[in-house]
């Protein structure tokens, strides 16, 4: 182990957020005090959080529980994450929907009020600027959450297009929810725990649904969504109530829901087959290559009208040349940038994220391979430190998802 353990922390952070490589974000590394803190910072430290720099923020990578224990506990009981570093944003105005539809692949007009979906912001070449969960609150109000590491470029992108849109008479404006904090409550105990803290009937709120409601005495935005594959919620709470809400959730779960850091969050999302922007999706990756074709609304496929639509629609027709796949391998866990070869030893692609699955007790990864080698069951070799290990293309999610959907 060389280079100091601090650098190890840095390498973990880099693996979690490749966006960190950006020169702008790197500036935040120089001094701890330049890192932003969420309102829960002291609460994390008091609870044993090991704080690391992440996308310009000082965030807990883990608490006293090991990452394996935290990951397993999320699926057996529940996890509470502080994800306040992510950027919540509201678009308001009667033309919010046509405006947003120029920038994302989703059929926003087709969403029922109070529901949302995962989407991708695309550039002119059809590549992904960011992935985001967007919600149609009402026809004139969209709520969305973008990645912390992409905040600046996303906001600049939206602002630039908003100026042009308004100049042509469009009615849209934004509000960045810096007055709010974001908590993610995930796992089988998420709903029963949260039900103790609100009068609204959570059994009527399904995966992807959004409500504004009173939780623990504060007016919150509640989205039944998450980044673990489990049932659960993301709760946008006025920052002055965030610590009280976190404490109340832990208390109402009788200690079964545990504070969980970014380390386990990464294991959980990998097990669920969910992309990490910056690793599994980048500026040059199209949603089709990333396996997010399902997120392109039917109407959008027919009409286009979003940035890069020509490239994306052509790819839909002809099939992409590379595709994101799941991988299971022997030997050491494959990490991002490990080479993937076919059985003849020819290069067919690269791992974009990977690690040991705490729940399956084996190595899982995702990466991009040439079309034709993407079918589940295809045998491959994955190179780690110069040695080739056996691997096989596998279906994702690796661990079955448990989203709460109407039966």
């Amino acid at each position: 182990m060389r280079g100091g353990l601090w650098q190890l922390g840095q390498s973990i952070t880099r693996r979690l957020a490749q966006a960190e490589k950006k020169a702008v974000a790197r500036r935040y590394y120089s001094v701890d005090s330049e890192l932003k803190k969420t309102v829960l910072y002291d609460f994390h430290v008091a609870n044993g959080g090991k704080m690391v720099p992440f996308a310009g923020w000082n965030m807990p990578i883990q608490y006293k529980d090991s990452i394996i224990d935290s990951t397993v506990n999320c699926r057996e009981n529940g996890s509470l994450f502080d994800v306040s570093h992510m950027c919540g944003l509201s678009l308001k105005g009667k033309d919010s929907i046509p405006f947003l539809e120029k920038l994302v692949i989703a059929d926003v007009a087709g969403l029922a009020p109070g529901t949302g979906t995962l989407t991708v912001f695309t550039n002119e070449k059809g590549g992904a600027i960011d992935d985001s969960v967007i919600t149609k609150v009402k026809d004139d109000h969209i709520y969305l959450v973008v990645n912390a590491g992409c905040r600046d470029k996303d906001l600049a992108h939206i602002e630039e297009h908003m100026k042009a849109f308004k100049a042509k008479g469009g009615d849209v404006s934004w509000h960045i929810h810096d007055e709010r904090s974001l908590l993610a409550l995930q796992g089988p105990l998420a709903a029963p725990t949260l039900q103790h803290l609100t009068k609204d009937d959570l059994s009527k709120i399904y995966f992807g649904d959004f409500r504004v409601l009173d939780i623990n005495g504060a007016s919150c935005f509640l989205t039944r969504t998450g980044y673990t594959g489990e049932d659960g919620f993301e709760i946008s709470v006025p920052s002055e109530h965030a610590v009280d809400l976190a404490k109340a959730i832990l208390e109402k779960s009788e200690g079964k829901v545990r504070l969980t850091g970014l380390g386990a969050r990464d294991s959980l999302r990998l097990e669920a087959g969910l992309c990490l922007y910056g690793n599994d999706m980048e500026q040059h990756t199209t949603p089709v290559e990333a396996g997010l074709t399902w997120a392109i609304g039917k109407r959008r496929r027919a009409e286009g009208g979003f940035l890069g639509a020509d490239v994306i629609l052509k790819q839909l027709e002809q099939g992409p040349s590379i595709r994101r796949v799941g991988l299971i391998s022997s030997g050491p866990p494959a990490r991002s940038h490990s080479e993937i070869q076919n059985e003849k030893g020819e290069n067919i692609g690269e791992v974009t994220s990977g690690g040991f699955s705490p729940c399956l007790k084996k190595n899982i990864a995702m990466g991009y391979v040439k079309s034709g080698s993407h079918k589940s069951g295809t045998k491959v070799k994955i190179t780690v430190r110069g040695k080739a290990y056996d691997g096989v293309v596998s279906k994702m999610p690796f661990v079955p998802t448990k989203y709460y959907k109407p039966t």
Binding site: M1, G4, D42, K50
Partner: protein, 155 residues
């Protein structure tokens, strides 16, 4: 006044982190330590090598240990394998030069021994050393403890 209060709160949170990060790691008196966080136990010309408690604590759950081949040559300061935790992979560096005479095969099935017993059952390799004076380049337990404290305090 305001800036003084700010300083105080920063200092307080800083101290709390430091206390948490330190304190748990143990060292063993008769071993020698490398600044890359490996230990070595020298008996005559035979050296047993592993990673320290401090290292395993920072790595977290170890899930794979890449062992060297028996018969391979290793040099002081050169990489001879790797330890993979859930968080990250980390190269490991030999604290001595010589020939690998035995590796801990148990780590193939139970890599967690590195966490549970870093100085005993979690040993990684045994080396027949050529030049015993090399060991003088390494730290003793007191010096290594201080080294870890300083390294943690820096960050």
């Amino acid at each position: 006044m305001a800036s003084r209060l700010l300083w105080a709160s920063r200092a307080a949170s800083y101290l709390r982190i430091s206390v948490f990060n330190r304190g748990f790691a143990s060292v063993v008196k008769d071993l020698k330590y490398a600044d890359s966080h490996e230990w070595v136990k020298v008996e005559g010309t035979s050296a047993t090598v592993g990673i320290t408690d401090h290292a395993q604590d920072h790595l977290g759950d170890v899930v794979y240990v890449e062992l060297p081949e028996v018969g391979a040559s290793v040099s002081q300061g050169d990489s001879f394998g790797a330890v993979e935790s859930v968080k990250a992979s980390s190269d490991i560096y030999s604290p001595v030069s010589g020939k690998v005479v035995e590796v801990n095969e148990e780590l193939n099935t139970s890599p967690g021994l590195v966490n549970a017993s870093p100085y005993e059952n979690g040993w990684i390799m045994k080396v027949e050393i050529g030049n015993t004076s090399e060991v003088n380049n390494l730290m003793d337990s007191d010096k290594y403890s201080k080294f870890c404290e300083e390294e943690d305090a820096k960050h």
